[in-house]
Symmetry: C2
Subunit: 420 residues, 2 copies
């Protein structure tokens, strides 16, 4: 029974979660860029802001099927209220007009068509009656329209030189459309962070191994791999190692050169076999913290091996999940160049009584629901529920401050939205 280092292990200095986040962010830099096709750029992050290379629309564009006219002609209509205009040409989308519109003239134009010189409005098709006389096309229009009607002016949607998208922005549907409009067939995106994932624990089986006494399957690695991918990074699965500091330490050090961040689970507590504690205590390692004034996950630790960050999360699946969101997400977002590294927070009503007394700040996996315009956040399971199954369906973390008494249902609480 080796208890010699126990006093040291208990003597950790607890810091606040915000200090821990800052300590991590202080050591993370934006990763470099790479250029990919627009199609490959989906779900990546812009490496630089998108500045409009030209106005949009790039020409005066019709917003309707109808006739391009001079509004002055409609104001001087015939006694029967109808203006009759000679039709010069037909302007489907994509066709450059050959003729400017002079007095008494019009051109048929389709939605998206280029409005000819001289025209100052488009009258919608449903308000017109076309005809032909002596081989010449005309159109009768019975109603005036305001100047500029149904015309999108050059640059009315996007001005040339306008900042359209900030650096770091995730490329979703709208961003893809804007990039395409600007002619960005190739896009500079942040390199995907490569995140190594190592689970420690002699109790762990591979997912495909049969159960055995005292053993459970490694669920943290697949969970972290999913989270890493959700947040725009690439997982590098190192599997599991038993609680043997030397072997685990070798694997950690051997991997750091290849990855941008190393996540470990387990081995951070005060037990005799907590391997990460030993690995992070080595003399060339710069420990950033090894105790956080929070539940779950108080022994969550972080350290620098040279310039590489190792974030050592709890082996408890719930604490591992919370630790990822609080401490790994800011690191990944900073690497991807995103403007705000932290999850956004909001205020909501607590969906059920929280009777526990809390000596520490607590983060509770919860789901948010809107009822009559009001946001309610409800823990995804009670204390008897699985630590793992409560991760399913969790879309926020309720932050409960240290409390002398519990909280009643309906009490306003702070919560963190944990979706990407």
């Amino acid at each position: 029974m080796q208890q010699t280092d126990t006093p040291e292990r208990f003597r950790r200095r607890a810091i606040q979660p915000e200090e821990a986040q800052q300590a991590i962010l202080d050591h993370i830099r934006v990763l470099g860029a790479e250029t990919v096709s627009l199609h490959e750029a989906w779900d990546r992050h812009l490496a630089e802001a998108l500045i409009a290379p030209h106005p949009f629309p790039p020409f005066r564009r019709s917003g309707m099927d109808g006739y391009a006219v001079r509004t002055a002609d409609l104001e001087h209509a015939r006694p029967d209220g109808q203006a009759e205009l000679a039709v010069l040409e037909n302007l489907p989308g994509g066709t450059e007009p050959k003729h400017p519109i002079g007095p008494g003239q019009a051109s048929r134009i389709m939605t998206g068509g280029m409005v000819p010189e001289g025209a100052d409005a488009v009258v919608m098709l449903e308000m017109t009656s076309p005809g032909e006389r002596e081989g010449r096309a005309y159109v009768e229009i019975g109603k005036s329209v305001p100047r500029g009607a149904n015309i999108s002016e050059i640059g009315s949607e996007i001005r040339e030189g306008e900042k359209l998208l900030p650096a770091g922005q995730r490329i979703g549907a709208g961003e893809s459309a804007v990039l395409a409009s600007c002619g960005c067939a190739r896009v500079a995106v942040s390199r995907r962070p490569l995140v190594a994932i190592l689970s420690t624990g002699s109790e762990l089986l591979e997912v495909d191994e049969p159960l055995a006494p005292a053993k459970i399957r490694n669920s943290n690695s697949p969970m972290l791999a999913a989270l890493v991918r959700e947040f725009g990074a690439e997982p590098m699965l190192l599997g599991k190692v038993p609680d043997e500091a030397e072997a685990a330490g070798k694997l950690v050090r051997g991997t750091l050169a290849e990855c941008d961040l190393l996540l470990t689970t387990g081995g951070v507590s005060v037990g005799d076999y907590d391997v990460m504690v030993d690995i992070l205590a080595q003399p060339d390692v710069k420990l950033l913290f090894n105790k956080i004034a929070m539940r779950p996950g108080s022994p969550t630790s972080a350290a620098l091996f040279g310039d590489k960050l190792v974030l050592a999360l709890s082996g408890n699946p719930g604490a591992c999940f919370v630790g990822f969101h609080l401490f790994a997400v800011p690191a990944l977002r900073r690497m991807l160049g995103m403007e705000r590294p932290l999850h956004p927070s909001f205020t909501a009503c607590l969906g059920e009584d929280f009777p526990k007394v809390n000596a520490y700040r607590r983060y509770i996996r919860a789901s948010a629901e809107i009822r009559d315009g009001q946001v309610w956040v409800t823990p995804t399971g009670d204390d008897k529920s699985s630590l793992m199954t409560t991760i399913v369906g969790a879309d926020c973390l309720i932050e409960i401050p240290p409390l002398k008494e519990g909280l009643k249902r309906g009490h306003p609480v702070k919560a963190w939205k944990i979706s990407r």
Copy 2:
């Protein structure tokens, strides 16, 4: 000027958006399943419900580092209040106990360790003082703990046979952890819907072409490809075709055998060059609808070519985006076996005045924000803003009913959450 079919085009029967959604859902079936590794299963959808194959934890598990004890021993402590127990063995995680705990005995146990027979509680390490006398390990414990303390009973998190995840559920982080725990190294997931995307319009340039008079770049195809991927399907990009019904029709028909759904953009309106109108009017095509009582996107059309659905969206990027969310998303979700094909709706406060009078139901791209527990939804751009740039940042659609008067800021409105 060919206007012969104009009257027919104007004589469309408008249906309500709900009817259009139902007409689509009536013709969509769940796609088949395929089996992939757990790692590949991320972001896919379960083809069948997950039933727990065994209880979890599968053994009595310690929730703490400490000593496994019989609580009866602690109640009969020595006069100094301390109970002294003989320590039998050391139980790190993953080790099967060799010795049951008898009266006056304890075993050292680590978090996650298997609790030996006879023990009915685990006392945390911090409450104990270990020692050795005559070569035999003992531990002093000064405080009683309740029966069951720090022990997770077999099945306390998951009962054997419990339904853990429903068919159709997207596999995210929590689902990955639960699947791993259950030993699902390979997972049956719904086949990804293959969605062909075709943009029509003679005004369209490829993204890498330089601007030319009357031309704009094809932004709808990249936007739809992004949306298709966001919603768990695979895009098949057919590029763009000019407004020529014969060529476009051939491409549509030639593609249908290879895809599960075909999305087109443009060509659905009342203009002379609206190719999709002609293609959907062919005698062997079963038109489901070609007018919806809504804005934007009223000419959105759907038709069956045999058993394959063609959804013809507007060429206007904003209307195309709205149409995808209202009509393509339910189709994709049904194909993926999801329980609820429609986006969820909620009530929120309108974030700014909406002065327009509406003859039709209107769907407005908007972003939701929580302020003091209340949800506010604000259009992502005013009428002067780009139809395309307002897609960026839109995370919901405000539904405005037909109105004789505008709505004031703060008015309660219905909105649809449009994230996956």
